[in-house]
Symmetry: C2
Subunit: 183 residues, 2 copies
C-alpha cells in the first residue's frame, strides 16, 4: 500500500475511455457523456468542459484481515492490462445507518454475512479493481470503484455485480450509478 493517490474521473469530450452507458442503479444517476478521462494526481488538470467530475483517493484497506489481504494480493491483477479493453466506474453512496455502525458491525455485514471478499475472489484474476474513497472529500459519493476486464469476461463481471447487489451490505446502498466503458 503506497501513498494515497488522488484520482479524478472527468466525463466530457476527451479521455481514453468511450462511455457506452450510464445507468442509475439506486437513486439519482449521472448525465450521459461521450468520453471519460482518468486523471491521477493531486494537482492534475481536469479537461475543460467536463460534463461531470467525481473524485476519490486510494487508501489503506478498511475491512480485510491479513489472510484476506494475502489472498487478494496473490490473485488481483494490476490495471492497464493490454486485453482489458472494457471498464466500469461504479460511484456508490451508503446510508447514514451504515456509517453510524461501529467497525465490528460493519465488518460483520461486509464479510461474515455478505462475503464481499469471498465473492470477489472468485472473479480474480479476470477483473482488476481499484477502490477510491470519496466520503472525506465532501463528494456526493462515498466510493468510486473502477474495474477493468477483457470483453470475454463481461458476463462474469455482470454476475459478480448481481451477486454483490443481492447481499445484506447492499441494503445500505442509497445511491449507485453503473458506468460502462470501452477503449
Amino acid at each position: 500500500m503506497g501513498e494515497p493517490l488522488h484520482v479524478a474521473f472527468a466525463s466530457g469530450l476527451s479521455g481514453t475511455w468511450q462511455i457506452d452507458s450510464v445507468t442509475a442503479v439506486v437513486g439519482e444517476g449521472l448525465p450521459e457523456a461521450a468520453r471519460l478521462a482518468v486523471v491521477e494526481g493531486w494537482n492534475s488538470e481536469i479537461p475543460p468542459a467536463a460534463v461531470w467530475v467525481v473524485r476519490g483517493v486510494t487508501s489503506h484497506d478498511r475491512y480485510v484481515t491479513r489472510r484476506e489481504h494475502d489472498l487478494l494480493a496473490a490473485r488481483q491483477p494490476s490495471l492497464g492490462r493490454a486485453d482489458a479493453s472494457r471498464a466500469a466506474l461504479i460511484p456508490l453512496r451508503k446510508s447514514p445507518a451504515w456509517w453510524s455502525l461501529p467497525q465490528d458491525e460493519r465488518r460483520s455485514i461486509f464479510e461474515e454475512r455478505s462475503h464481499h471478499v469471498g465473492v470477489a475472489l472468485e472473479y480474480l484474476p479476470a477483473v482488476a479493481r481499484r477502490l477510491h474513497h470519496s466520503r472525506e472529500l465532501g463528494e456526493p459519493f462515498d466510493f468510486l470503484t473502477w474495474f477493468e476486464y477483457a470483453p470475454r469476461d463481461a458476463e462474469r463481471f455482470d454476475e459478480l455485480l448481481r451477486r454483490l447487489r443481492a447481499t445484506e451490505e447492499w441494503d445500505y446502498v442509497q445511491r449507485e450509478v453503473d458506468i460502462r466503458l470501452a477503449r
Copy 2:
C-alpha cells in the same frame, strides 16, 4: 455520527485561541504563531496571512466496537464547554508500515495491545476530543486531534498523552506536533 465535517486549523494573527506553545514531539515541528482559528465547513474562508493551515475531516469510527462506542458515547463531553479554556491540537502522521497493516492487525495494536480506548476512557469526561482525518486530503499529517479541558485538568491531560505515547501504537508515529492553546 453525522456527515463528515471539514475543519481547517489556521494559525496567524487572528482566531479564538491564543497559541501558548508549539512542540515537535517526533520529526519536524510547525512554525510558532500567535493565534489559531478553527474554521468549520467545506467552503469556509481561511483568515488571510495564515502562518500555517492544517485540514482534516471528521469521519466514522475506524476501530471501536459497539461496546467501546457505547462506553465512549456515554462519557465523552462535547466541545465548547464554558470552563474548558485550554486546548491542544496534535497533528500526527503514522508510518508506511502502519498503513500497510491489514485492519485486524491495526485493530490489535490499537486496542488489544495499546489499550487506546481503554486508556482514553479513564480521562473522560475531563477531556473532550474531536478526531479529524487528513490522510485522504493529501495533507502532511494523517490525523489532527483536538482536545479541550479546564485548567485544573491540564496535568491529567499530560498524563494521558504520556501513557498513549508509551504504547506500541506510538512506535508507528513518525511525526507528531503538540500545540497548546488557551482562550
